[in-house]
């Protein structure tokens, strides 16, 4: 065998990956056009494209560019950061059940935001909100990784995640419990359900800087995740600064999830599901899963947000409720598949 034989097989796998990624990107664009077209006034994808680039009637331009575009952009970015966060946590912990929502990060971020609102420190459009959400998310992921230690098994991670998300939930409930203002309680409750309705460019400006910063931090570590496939000690012997990598992932996830939760509330399970959908297509290399997982996250959240507008119901279904209703059975399916590893942890 020659050197060409080594590189040739690599190129074939690379072509398949690039193909899958391109198809995903096209799907995301299509879903964006559909998302922009759906609402009280239905517009075809073609009319949407026209309105986006300054064509068509003035009314359709206002509808698409000012009313629906912020919502669609938020679904795109938040889906992407959730998928990327899930893939990064799975890469860091070398564990297919790792994800922000199972670790209580969105729930903690929501607590941070709720606390700021309840204390009257900020209204829902101030930067104090994402900052509080990010700090709370950072603390939750940091505590979880500190409890888990260097080589945590599945069971410890899931149990610590359960404890942290329960605690964040209880703390949020306490804030609502102690709050004397019923309108405030209602606002917090609706917001905790997770929704993209009626979001403006102000919300986009609030969330995007943090989401983009978090995404860049996570993406910059893609090669380190690959080396980490061999365990922390070997990765370190290959020149990976494992301590720095952990800090990058915690910070990236906190920035992304905190920024997202601050404008939409908790939207769960996209981070868990996205990497799993990609492994059969892309392979298990944790470095290569990041971008496809982000695209899948976008596609999932865009699709869910389209679905809540199409499903006929007396009251609006919140997108966070829908992702959890679909995500939790998927989680159960994963537990069944990983039953052996989990059972081994108990014994």
């Amino acid at each position: 065998m020659s050197v060409e034989a080594v590189t040739l097989t690599n190129e074939e796998a690379a072509r398949r990956r690039i193909g899958a990624t391109a198809v995903l990107a096209a799907l995301v664009v299509l879903l964006m056009l559909i998302s922009l077209g759906i609402g009280p006034v239905r517009l075809s994808p073609l009319a949407v494209a026209e309105a986006l680039f300054g064509g068509g009637s003035e009314v359709s331009q206002v509808i698409v560019r000012e009313i629906r575009l912020p919502r669609t952009l938020l679904a795109l970015a938040i889906g992407a950061i959730l998928g990327l966060s899930g893939a990064s946590l799975q890469g860091l912990l070398r564990n297919p059940l790792a994800s922000p929502s199972l670790f209580g990060a969105p729930q903690s971020a929501a607590f941070g935001a709720v606390l700021v609102i309840a204390l009257g420190l900020a209204d829902v459009r101030s930067y104090a909100l994402p900052v509080a959400a990010i700090v709370a998310a950072f603390v939750s992921v940091f505590v979880l990784l500190a409890i888990a230690g260097r080589n945590a098994g599945l069971l410890i991670l899931i149990l610590s995640g359960l404890a942290i998300s329960s605690f964040a939930g209880a703390a949020t409930a306490l804030v609502m419990n102690l709050s004397s203002n019923p309108f405030l309680v209602l606002e917090i409750a609706f917001w905790l359900l997770g929704s993209l309705e009626d979001r403006s460019f102000q919300h986009v400006m609030l969330a995007f800087p943090f989401i983009i910063a978090g995404a860049l931090m996570l993406f910059s570590q893609r090669h380190a995740f690959r080396a980490l496939s061999l365990g922390e000690e070997t990765a370190q012997s290959l020149g990976v600064d494992v301590g720095r990598l952990r800090l990058f992932v915690i910070s990236g996830v906190a920035l992304g999830v905190g920024g997202a939760v601050a404008v939409t509330g908790t939207i769960g399970f996209i981070g868990l599901v996205a990497p799993h959908l990609m492994r059969p297509l892309i392979g298990h290399d944790p470095g290569r899963l990041l971008v496809p997982s982000a695209l899948t996250g976008s596609a999932l959240l865009l699709a869910a947000d389209i679905a809540v507008r199409i499903i006929p119901s007396t009251s609006d279904i919140k997108v966070g409720v829908l992702t959890s209703i679909i995500g939790v059975p998927f989680f159960l399916y994963l537990i069944m598949r990983e039953r052996r590893a989990l059972g081994g942890g108990v014994a």
Partner: protein
């Protein structure tokens, strides 16, 4: 060990969680040697290996090729040691070739899909050296224990570092694969690499190593050629056993025989 030393340690000590695991170890090892690091369970063998590679904090002074280890950045250290830990763990079902290619990570080849010709040649050399080309495309998680240990060894060889540190590379392998791995390490040493192998198999150590280092309770208590380093007195004091000793095909044979 009279030639210029490649790896030296002076007054090396390690504490883990307040407990002294290694104390005052000094050594000087030269290129082209296979060194066996032996000792009872808990003697500090793995700790010494980790400390030498700079993977855990230690007291004392370590030099590699004349440079103080502490002064070398992480990436530079990584180029000087091929580190093969116990267990040959791989967390994701990646193809064997991608695992071996990770050996080029310290050289900047962080993506196995985009290897430079130089890196691809190094990967190929390593895979051919331990004969794993045939399962290049197979997932490591689907390989047998013996096959996986060879892939892990190829990964450490692909670094093409002047020093290889292998922690129990023969553990849980059948006799044929044990000999196979030791032959590969011997051949690597013969190419001018310093190979340090932790092992419990005194027979393999006696047969393949140029030198043995014997650890007991964190102290370096004996060293030298296998027959000197593993003398009857050392076997009794350190391992608390007697051994059958002989020579076969002009190589030392030591077979642990009875507890004393």
């Amino acid at each position: 060990m009279s030639e210029a030393a490649l790896l030296t340690a002076r007054g090396l000590g390690v504490r883990l969680a307040g407990r002294v695991v290694l104390k005052d170890v000094s050594l000087a090892l030269s290129p082209g040697h296979l060194v066996a690091l032996v000792g009872p369970n808990g003697a500090g063998k793995t700790t010494l290996l980790r400390a030498l590679a700079g993977l855990i904090p230690s007291e004392g002074e370590i030099t590699v090729g004349g440079d103080a280890l502490a002064s070398l950045p992480l990436r530079e250290r990584a180029k000087r040691f091929g580190y093969l830990p116990q267990g040959h763990l791989v967390h994701w079902p990646l193809p064997a070739r991608d695992i071996v290619a990770l050996g080029r990570y310290p050289h900047g080849a962080t993506d196995p899909a985009r290897l430079s010709p130089k890196d691809a040649e190094a990967v190929l050399r390593a895979m051919q050296a331990v004969d794993v080309m045939e399962f290049s495309d197979r997932r490591v998680t689907e390989l047998s224990g013996g096959e996986r240990s060879r892939v892990a060894l190829a990964r450490a060889l692909a670094v093409e570092a002047p020093i290889i540190l292998a922690d129990e590379p023969t553990a849980s392998l059948d006799p044929r694969h044990q000999i196979d791995v030791m032959k590969n390490l011997r051949a690597t040493a013969d190419k001018g690499v310093l190979v340090i192998v932790v092992t419990h198999d005194l027979g393999l150590a006696a047969r393949f190593a140029d030198h043995v280092l014997v650890l007991k309770e964190g102290n370096l208590v004996s060293w030298g050629t296998p027959s000197e380093g593993l003398s009857e007195r050392v076997m009794a004091d350190v391992f608390r056993i007697s051994a059958y000793r002989a020579e076969y095909q002009r190589e030392a044979v030591i077979v642990p025989w009875a507890d004393i």
